[in-house]
C-alpha cells in the first residue's frame, strides 16, 4: 500500500499498523441514525479512514438539533440530515466513500442494508428500531455496535460479535412504547452524546481490526454526572437467538396493532380516518377526526399530534388505517400504528376504558 501520511500517527500504533489502516480503508460500516450519536461517530470514523460509510436517517435538521449535532449549520435547517452529513464527510475526508439512504430503517430496507456491510452501528433513538436492527443483525450474522443514553447516563456494548449475545439476550422483554422517555421528553446534552459516540466509534474500529477487548457480552455503563461506571457481564440466551432466527420476532416489528395490544388508551394520538357521515360516532374528545382524503393530510396530522406519543389510525375496518400508516412510513414519520379492529370493537373498548 502507498504510504499515506494522513494516517501516520495511528499507523504507528502497533495495533493498527499499515495493514490495519488498509483494512479500515476497505471496511464498510452502516450507521443508522445521524443525530446526537451519529454525527460525531460518522465524523470520527471517516477521519480514521473507514473506507465506506452508509448513513441512514429519515429526518430533517431542526434548530434544536444544532446544539449537539455539530456537522449541521444554521443554513442547513430543514434539509435532510443524510444529505448534509454526506456533503460534509465528502468535503473533509476524501478517502471515505459515503452513501446515504433517506428513509426510516424498517423491515423493507433492513435486510439489504445490513447484508452489504461489515459492521452495523445503532445510533438511533427509538427502542423499536433498535430491536429491529438487532434482529436483522442476528439473522445476517453482523456485529452490532450499540450505544444509548438517558440524560447523563450511557450504555455501550457490542452485540452479535463472534457468536456473542444480542440485544434480546440482554433484554429479552422488549419495552413497551411509552416505557422509555424519548430524548424530547428527558433532554440531552451534547457532551454526553458525543463522548459516548467516541467510545462507540472505538468499538467499531476494534471490531473492524479484530482487536482484543471488544465489549461483547459486557454492558458498559457510565454516569457522566458522578463518574460511576459498571461493566456488566451477560451471556448468550439461546432461546432468544432461536426466537429471532425462526422469524418469530418478525411479528413484533409490526405496524399493525389490535386493541388487546394497546396498553393504556391514553398513550396514543387517536386519529379517526372516517368521514363525518360514518357511524357509529365515537364521542371522545381525545379523538381527532382526519379523513384520509383530506388535503395536506400529513401536515394536518403532524400539527395535531403530540410527538411524544405514537399515532394510532383507525377507520371502519382497518384498511384505511393501513394506508395511512404506510403514508407515514414512506414519509419518515415514525411511531404510527394501524388499528385493525372493527369500529364496533373499538367503540366497545373505548366505552369500557373511559368510564
Amino acid at each position: 500500500m502507498k504510504e499515506n501520511s494522513r494516517y501516520l500517527r495511528q499507523q504507528t500504533l502497533e495495533q493498527i499498523g499499515v495493514e490495519g489502516q488498509k483494512q479500515l480503508l476497505e471496511s464498510r460500516v452502516l450507521v443508522i441514525g445521524a443525530g446526537g450519536l451519529g454525527c460525531p461517530l460518522l465524523q470520527i470514523l471517516a477521519s480514521t479512514g473507514v473506507g465506506y460509510l452508509t448513513v441512514v436517517d429519515f429526518d430533517r435538521i431542526a434548530t434544536h438539533n444544532l446544539a449537539r449535532q455539530m456537522l449541521f449549520r444554521n443554513q442547513d435547517v430543514g434539509r435532510h440530515k443524510t444529505e448534509v452529513v454526506t456533503e460534509y464527510l465528502k468535503a473533509y475526508f476524501p478517502d471515505c466513500k459515503v452513501a446515504y439512504h433517506t428513509a426510516l430503517f424498517h423491515e423493507n430496507n433492513a435486510a439489504e442494508l445490513i447484508r452489504t456491510h461489515d459492521v452495523v452501528v445503532d445510533a438511533t433513538d427509538d427502542i423499536n428500531t433498535r430491536y429491529l436492527i438487532n434482529d436483522y443483525c442476528v439473522l445476517h450474522n453482523k456485529p452490532l455496535v450499540f450505544a444509548a443514553l438517558y440524560k447523563f447516563e450511557g450504555q455501550l456494548t457490542v452485540f452479535n460479535y463472534k457468536g456473542g449475545p444480542s440485544l434480546r439476550c440482554l433484554y429479552p422483554k422488549k419495552p413497551q412504547y411509552q416505557e422509555i422517555p424519548t430524548c424530547e421528553q428527558s433532554g440531552m446534552l451534547a457532551t454526553v452524546s458525543s463522548s459516548l459516540a467516541q467510545f462507540q466509534a472505538t468499538e467499531v474500529i476494534k471490531v473492524l481490526l479484530g482487536l482484543p477487548g471488544v465489549l461483547s457480552g459486557t454492558l458498559w455503563y457510565y454516569d457522566f454526572l458522578n463518574h460511576s461506571q459498571r461493566s456488566i457481564e451477560f451471556k448468550v440466551n439461546a432461546a432468544q437467538l432461536e426466537y429471532v432466527k425462526n422469524k418469530k420476532a418478525e411479528t413484533e416489528h409490526k405496524i399493525h396493532i389490535s386493541i388487546e395490544e394497546l396498553g393504556s388508551y391514553e398513550g396514543y394520538n387517536w386519529i379517526d380516518l372516517r368521514s363525518k357521515e360514518e357511524t357509529p360516532l365515537l364521542p371522545f374528545e381525545f379523538i381527532f377526526q382526519l379523513p384520509i382524503s383530506s388535503e395536506n393530510f400529513l401536515d394536518k396530522l403532524q400539527d395535531q399530534c403530540e410527538s411524544a406519543k405514537p399515532i394510532l389510525f383507525f377507520c371502519q375496518s382497518g384498511s384505511r388505517a393501513k394506508k395511512a400508516q404506510e403514508l407515514c412510513l414512506n414519509s419518515g414519520l415514525q411511531n404510527s400504528f394501524a388499528l385493525l379492529n372493527s369500529i364496533e370493537d373499538i367503540s366497545t373498548y373505548l366505552s369500557t376504558q373511559c368510564q
Binding site: D122, A123, T124, D125, D126, L170, R230, I232
Partner: protein, 77 residues
C-alpha cells in the same frame, strides 16, 4: 435479610429513588425479583435486568448479600 438495591436511568425518575434497602426471603434471583416487584409494582410490566457483582443474575445464579443493580434499557441517541 436485607440487600441494597440501586436503580439506574429512567427507573430513578419513574420510581422516585436511586437506592433502597430490600427485605428478601432468600439469596435467590426469584426472591429478589418478587420482593422488588412487590415493593415497586410499576416494574412488573417493565423491561429491566438485575445484576450483582457486575454480572446479570438469572434463575440459577448464586447470590450473596452484595448490592443489586437494576438496569433498564436505554434508547436515547
Amino acid at each position: 435479610m436485607k440487600v441494597e438495591v440501586r436503580f439506574f436511568g429512567q427507573l430513578i425518575d419513574k420510581l422516585g429513588l436511586a437506592v433502597c434497602q430490600l427485605e428478601i426471603s432468600a439469596l435467590k434471583f426469584e426472591a429478589v425479583r418478587d420482593a422488588l416487584e412487590q415493593a415497586f409494582p410499576a416494574l412488573k410490566s417493565m423491561s429491566y435486568q438485575l445484576a450483582q457483582n457486575n454480572a446479570i443474575i438469572e434463575g440459577e445464579t448464586a447470590l450473596d448479600q452484595s448490592a443489586i443493580d437494576v438496569f433498564p434499557p436505554f434508547s436515547g441517541g
